[in-house]
Symmetry: C2
Subunit: 498 residues, 2 copies
Amino acid sequence: MAKDKKPRRPKAETPKGFRDYFGMDVIERKAMLDTIAEVYHRYGFDPLETSAVETVEALGKYLPDVDRPNAGVFAWQEEDGDWLALRYDMTAPLARVAAQFRNDLPSPYRRFTMGPVWRNEKPGPGRFRQFYQCDADTVGSGSVAADAEICAMLSDTLEAVGIPRGDYIVRVNNRKVLNGVMEVAGVLDPSDPEKFEHERGIVLRAIDKLDRLGPQGVRALLGEGRKDESGDFTDGAGLSEAQADIVMGFMEAKRDTGAETCARLRELVEGSVVGGEGVTELETIAELLDAQGYSADRIEIDPSVVRGLGYYTGPVYEAELTFEIKDEKGRPRQFGSVAGGGRYDDLVKRFTGQAVPATGVSIGVDRLLAALRAKGRSGGVEQGPVVVTVMDRDRMADYQAMVGELRAAGIRAEVYLGNPKNFGNQLKYADKRNSPVAIIQGGDEKDRGVVQVKDLYLGAKIAESASLEEWKSQPAQYEVPRDDLIAAVRKIIDGAEG
Amino acid sequence: MAKDKKPRRPKAETPKGFRDYFGMDVIERKAMLDTIAEVYHRYGFDPLETSAVETVEALGKYLPDVDRPNAGVFAWQEEDGDWLALRYDMTAPLARVAAQFRNDLPSPYRRFTMGPVWRNEKPGPGRFRQFYQCDADTVGSGSVAADAEICAMLSDTLEAVGIPRGDYIVRVNNRKVLNGVMEVAGVLDPSDPEKFEHERGIVLRAIDKLDRLGPQGVRALLGEGRKDESGDFTDGAGLSEAQADIVMGFMEAKRDTGAETCARLRELVEGSVVGGEGVTELETIAELLDAQGYSADRIEIDPSVVRGLGYYTGPVYEAELTFEIKDEKGRPRQFGSVAGGGRYDDLVKRFTGQAVPATGVSIGVDRLLAALRAKGRSGGVEQGPVVVTVMDRDRMADYQAMVGELRAAGIRAEVYLGNPKNFGNQLKYADKRNSPVAIIQGGDEKDRGVVQVKDLYLGAKIAESASLEEWKSQPAQYEVPRDDLIAAVRKIIDGAEG
């Protein structure tokens, strides 16, 4: 049966919102993850790798951005009726693991994990549906020493990956203080915690947008609501002027030192038990960090940090890069947040009914890499392999022997495996690979027991700029005895790297 | 509104067929992946990391095991109607990338990739739906030197991860030879390639099962079919005795040397053009490998290797571990295949219409790790962190300072963050963490400027076996000046590791 109808060809496209990482991108991210893992490990955290797939039931509904109703997970139904989904963060799987293996794991359980997470969001420029997270959490410790430890570790980690002190700040706040403020402002009733939940959600998200909207915008959201530039209207929390004043006072409570900030916060939450507790916790964190030498140039108390996530119950923290970069329109702007986290004491309880205190941080690895590139501290082009060219198709074994020797000497090397007919293509290939050296051996060289060594970096430099004199004094291609191949190649590579 | 109805608690369970990896499992796999990446990189292969998600259209229907109709992918439909799926291997995404970026990538393009793949299969004991693959492929080279290179690299890789020479063998065969045999046997008509496709599929899978079913079982599948122990009947290819003889002769064509095997194969495919081509390719591969010193103790020509996948078009190869392990019932058996691959010249053509030659290998990392553990070459328990205990809750800053010093000295250390009230629990925790040392400092020690250092490994040994004399001569806990903390800890750790 001959078929006349051609099948339609599939499109060769990454799905919308997904991307591929090539060469140096993979190498740099791996180096960063390795560095972060080393710091986490030295702090006593153990690696954990959960499966990418969870039951929808276990994941629950803790997606961060409740503003956008179509935010969600990638989910599908199994033949047996169960719904499965890709994890959207590393915290929900940890809560599941902490519940599932609670009798086997040490307590407290410090774990770190790194890998992709997936969000079923509308893709946009710079907004991807798969990205890396790198988390560290302590499960089973109610002590704020656990929170302080994670803040210190976050500071160490940022410096380890190449963000110098002064270019970042870890900011710490406490949800209990905020709750105390809400109580004083009359939008939280300790005897009926569910009352005003809707309003508090709006307040939380409004504070979180201070950076973007400014005090005026936040105030509008605390009150009747806010119309943005596009004309869209966002409902406000409906607070009175007096109520909004209290919340705004909280956001502006930051003073020069942690002790002064805490003193100001204590005034603001006067009368609220939970608020007072929260201030005491912040004081303890500040003392612990101070005693270890993490001063305000690295970690500070900042009441404007709230973190959007609804599940935080105590200290919250955020690492921000403080240097300026240019945005896509060339305007300077602060790079902003690269990591954040906090205490969430109720996530494991979902499974077991028993409250298990936990606190942890998540680093946005892709953003952190982008920051290092923006500062020129990363993002070079990798030196390619030495390319052994093929002058004589029948002597492939000779060429393979050369690359074999080079590799045995620890030098990255490959033989040209395309069609060797056009020699120019072989050199173009070596260029595209960013190769430092090409090796050439025709029949004549073979007979004389030599190889031609071509210094491709020098060759490119000469072609670009050098005068005839220089060309003569420094030839980019020369002959060496076959036995000196390794030494000659090493000399060029060491020179190129030096 | 008080709610009386309690929400049902979600189950804390990994989805069926998925698993979590803890501590040492993660560390060991990472070490193996790093080693493999190093070898691949030295051979000139560049890293690539594609997204886990592909369009179903791009993935196509190349699932390896066509025996089982419910084998498949995890897929879901997008709001815009597109179907997306998790990748089931690394080859389909590479074909997509090679087509999508064909104008930007060097040609030939050598790439390696490592990461999880997902199979929507019925889970079973030891059969998981997410597992790691570690692939290297060369796209754009039709030369069998590319196949030979990958076989040599596979051999190097196995030795690099700890499989000594003699404990593995890389077997090479060629689909073209098999096609030649099929032609001679009358189940392949070069003028109508689609004729007998069904029969050839059965023949291919039958040969692939030689290890498991033996010659008798394979012969049954070549003929009328085969009833297995459970009584299930598998349809055969319906070959006559004479036809089956030819196929069986092919499987038994292996001789002592590659040259002899090739000579025997040449006899078998006499009259088939493609068969003759295939034998010539095998001869070239054998010569290239021989010239580089990869003799039959590492890589050999073996006609019984066919690899189940339908898309292979030329050389196929497989790495097998040849040592025996005990199965779950204590019976000795060969460990079997840990890696395989071959040449597939049509996968990129699906997208572009232009044939692009490609060849590559996939290492089953989880199986390879299991093999190393079965041989006792891997799978130890990691030494835990030094645990600084908490005698006095108010002096947390002191204890944090100690772990800070230890970490600064490169020693993994943590402070106990659970409830410090019961000191016994702290030591139990240190045991569970496999800590080498616990540090103790109460108020009295603090006043005297000392710390107690407890050697937990020695303590365990003494508790197990030592006589009173030994106990006296080697105390497992002793006092050192606070300033000597680092030195004292280092001495114990170095002793435990030595």
